[in-house]
Amino acid sequence: MLVKLDSVVFSGLEVKKVVVEVNISLRGLPSFDIVGLGGRSVEESRHRIKAAIQNSGLNFPDKKITVNLAPADIVKEGSFYDLPICIGVLSAAFKFTIPESSLFFGELSLDGQVRYTRGVFPLTIYASENGYRRIFIPGECVNETEGITDRSIEIYPVTDVRALFRHLSHTKKMELHQRPISYPNSQVGNFQEGLTNFDSIVGQEQLKRALVICAAGGHNLIMTGPPGSGKSMAAKALSELLPPLLEKESVEVTKIYSLIGRIPRGEFLITKRPFRQPHHTSSYAGIIGGGNSPKPGEITLAHRGVLFLDELNEFNRNVLEALRQPLESGYVSLSRSGGTVTYPAGFILVAASNPCPCGFLGDLYHECRCPVGKIEQYRRKLSGPIMDRIDLHVNVRPVEKEKLGAVFNKAFDKTRVNLGNSNLFRGQIVKAREIQRLRFEGEGIFTNSEMDNAQIGKYLRMSPTAVSLLNTAMQRMNFSARAYFKIVKIARTISDLEEKEEVTLDHMAEAILYRPGT
C-alpha cells in the first residue's frame, strides 16, 4: 500500500515542496526506515512517531514500512516531518484517503500531542501562493497564520494525532480555525509609546540630528567618542525614532522570526523594527550566519531594523570584513558544499567606537595616555572599506558637567525649540519615509540608502550650486567614488526631511559634514 502526501523543505527563507511517500509492504520482516537524505532530527522522528501512534490508542503496523522524502537529493532538516510521516503511516495502515491539496507540518511528542514547530508563517505563505487548499499545522502555532491575507485556504490547528486521525477517517470532524475578518488595526502602523531614551539625551544636538537623518533614510551611522558620551543610549533612541514596519517589510521580518521560532505567542505579524545588539565576542557564524546547514545570524535577525555594534573596534576583524557585502547588497549568501542559502540582511548599522584604546582622546576631564602609534593602529583596525560603507560619521563628546546647570539647560531648550520637539521629529521621519515609499514604488526598495547608482541618477535632482559644492568637496577632501554616492544619498534624505523636491546647497553642505575628511 503506497501513500503520498505533501510537506516542505526550507532552504534559507525559501520553501520547496517535498513529497512524503510511505509504503507498507506485506512481505518482509517488520521495520521502519526513512530514506531521502533526512538529517539527524528526521532519523530520530521514527521513534517519536511510533510512540505517538501507540500512545494515541492506535496500533502501529507490524509491517515493513519504508518512507521516502522526495526529491531524495536535497538534505532535509527539521522535526516537522513527524506529522506527515505519521499520517502517511496511518493512512497506509488504516486505509483512509488523504484529502487533496493538503500540506502537513508539525513535530510530535511521544504522547501523541503536536508540539510548537518553527516555520509556520513561511509555510502558510508558501501554501497560499502555490494553491494549496488546506494546511494541517500545530494548534500552538495557529496565531502565525493570521498574518496571511488569503482567506480561501483552510487552516486546521492540530492538537494531537488522535484528533487528526478521527478527522481524516471521517469519524469526527475537526474545527477549522476561524480567523478574524480583518486585522486589528492597532497592531499595524503605530509607534511605540513614549520616547524615553531620545528625550533623555542632554545636549548632543548634532548627534540627535544625525539620528533623525539615519531614521529617515535608513542610513548607517558610526559614533566615535569617549565612554559616557551617550552612544549606547543614542542607539536605543534610534530604534524609538524608526517608524513601524510597512506591511511588505513586516512579512519579510515575520518569516525570519517564524523560522527561528521567535514569534511571541499570540501575535501574528512583527510590526516593530528589530533591534539587535550582539556582544563583540560573538562568533562569526553568530553574526553573519552559518553552520553546516546555514542558520541566520544577527545581521539577518536585524533585517529592516537596527544592528547595533558597540565597541566596533573590539569585533573580530573577519566579522567586520564580512559585513561589507551585506552592507552593500542587503542580503548575505552562505555557500556550503550542499548548496547556497541566501538570507535577507537589510539592516541599519549603528556602530559605536572609542577614539583610542584608553577611550579618553579628546575628553575634557581625562588625559589620553595612549602612544600615538597605538592610536593609529587602533584606527587602522577599522579598515577603509568598512568605514567607507558607513554613511554618517559623528563625533560625540561627553556633556560637560557644568552644562548640566540650569542656565545652560535653558539655552539647550532654546535650540530644541528651534529644532522642534521629539514628536515633531517623528512626524518629519514618517513624512520623509512616505515620500521615499512613493518615490520608489515599483523599484523594490523603500529608502534612500538602498538606491543604486542608476536610481540615484534617476531620482536625484540637485541645484547647480549643490553640485559645484560637492565637486569642490570631492577635490579638497579626497573622497572616494563610494563616498560621493553616500553623500548624495544623505543629501536626498535631508531634503526629504524638509519635503523639498530638489537638493539645495544647504542640504548638500550638511551631508558633507557627516563624512570624515581623509
Binding site: 544636538e205 548634532q206 535650540t415 577632501m477
Partner: protein, 285 residues
C-alpha cells in the same frame, strides 16, 4: 646621495662640535650643501599636535628667512608638520633619525622620507643600516637636534615630554630656547608655558625668530606686523571659533543657530579652509 661625515671632516657641522659628546660619525642621505648647517632652527613639539600647533607652524614658517634650515626629529605631529611645511615653503630641512638611516620609522612617513631625500633636504643619523629605534636612541637623537641648532623652537609640548628634554639639552649647550605660548587649559601647551616661566623667549611670529637668529631684514618687518593679518572676513562663526574652539553643539547653543543650518554653514567654511575640525571640535584657522 649618501655618505658618512667623520668628526674631523671640514664639513662636519660646526655647532655640533661644541657639545660635550658629539657623534663620531654621522650617516647622511640627501643633499649635503655647504650652508646647510649655518642657520639651523630646531623645531620640536608634541606628537599629538592640535590644530593650533599646525596653524602656528604654517604661520611662523611663512615669515621665516630662507636662510634658515629647519631641524627636527621625523616623528608624528609637530616634527612631521615642520618637515612638510619647510619643504612646502622651500626652506632647507634636516631630519635627525633615532634609528638606522635606512630604517623608515614611523612607517607612515615613507613618502615624507622620500621627499626630504629627493627635494634638497637631508636625513642624518648616528646609526647606519637598518637598526630599529630603541627608547634610548630617541634621547641620543635629541642631543643632535639640539646640538645642530642655533635656536630651538618648541611649538607645543606636554609636561614631561621628549620636547622638554631636547629643550633642556639645548639650554645646556647655550642655545636660544623659544616657545610658543598656548591655551593654559590645553594639555599640549603646558610644557611651553612651563618653559616660558623658566625664561624661554615667547614667540608670536616668524620675524621674531629671524631677528633672534640675526637674520632680520628691516624692510620685511615694517609692513607685515605680528598681528592677525590674514582672514579678516567678518564671519561671526569664524570670529567665535577664533576666540575659542567649540563643538558643533556648543556653537549651536552659543550662537543660537539650529544644527541643520549650522552644519551646512560650517561645511562651507571648512571647504573654504577657514575652519578645521579635529575630533568633533571646530577651530578657526
Amino acid at each position: 646621495m649618501h655618505g658618512i661625515l667623520k668628526a674631523g671632516d671640514s664639513n662636519y657641522p660646526s655647532f655640533l662640535k661644541l657639545i660635550p659628546d658629539p657623534p663620531k660619525e654621522l650617516f647622511w642621505k640627501g643633499c649635503l650643501d655647504g650652508g646647510l648647517f649655518e642657520n639651523c632652527l630646531a623645531v620640536v613639539g608634541s606628537r599629538k599636535m592640535s590644530p593650533y600647533g599646525e596653524r602656528v607652524v604654517e604661520y611662523f614658517f611663512s615669515e621665516l628667512s630662507p636662510k634658515i634650515t629647519i631641524v627636527s626629529g621625523f616623528m608624528y605631529g609637530v616634527d612631521a608638520k615642520a618637515h612638510k611645511e619647510a619643504l612646502k615653503r622651500g626652506l632647507k630641512t634636516i631630519a635627525v633619525l633615532p634609528c638606522g638611516l635606512d630604517f623608515v620609522y614611523p612607517r607612515e612617513h615613507v613618502s615624507l622620507y622620500r621627499s626630504i631625500e629627493d627635494s634638497g633636504g637631508l636625513l642624518i643619523s648616528e646609526y647606519g643600516g637598518s637598526m630599529g629605534p630603541r627608547t634610548w636612541t630617541y634621547l641620543r637623537r635629541n642631543r643632535i637636534v639640539a646640538g645642530l641648532s642655533k635656536a630651538l623652537l618648541v611649538i607645543e609640548a606636554s609636561e614631561k615630554s621628549g620636547s622638554l628634554n631636547t629643550a633642556e639639552l639645548a639650554s645646556l649647550y647655550n642655545r636660544d630656547i623659544l616657545a610658543v605660548p598656548g591655551n593654559i587649559f590645553s594639555e599640549v601647551s603646558k610644557g611651553c608655558l612651563q618653559l616660558i616661566k623658566k625664561g624661554a623667549k615667547s614667540m608670536t611670529c616668524g620675524f621674531e625668530i629671524n631677528e633672534i637668529m640675526g637674520l632680520t631684514s628691516i624692510g620685511l618687518f615694517s609692513d607685515k606686523a605680528c598681528s592677525e593679518t590674514e582672514v579678516s572676513k567678518t564671519d561671526s562663526i569664524v570670529r567665535t571659533l577664533r576666540a575659542f574652539p567649540l563643538t558643533l553643539d556648543d556653537l549651536s547653543v552659543f550662537m543660537s543657530i539650529p544644527i541643520p543650518i549650522l552644519s551646512s554653514k560650517i561645511t562651507q567654511l571648512c571647504l573654504d579652509g577657514l575652519v578645521v575640525e579635529d575630533r568633533g571640535k571646530f577651530y578657526a584657522r
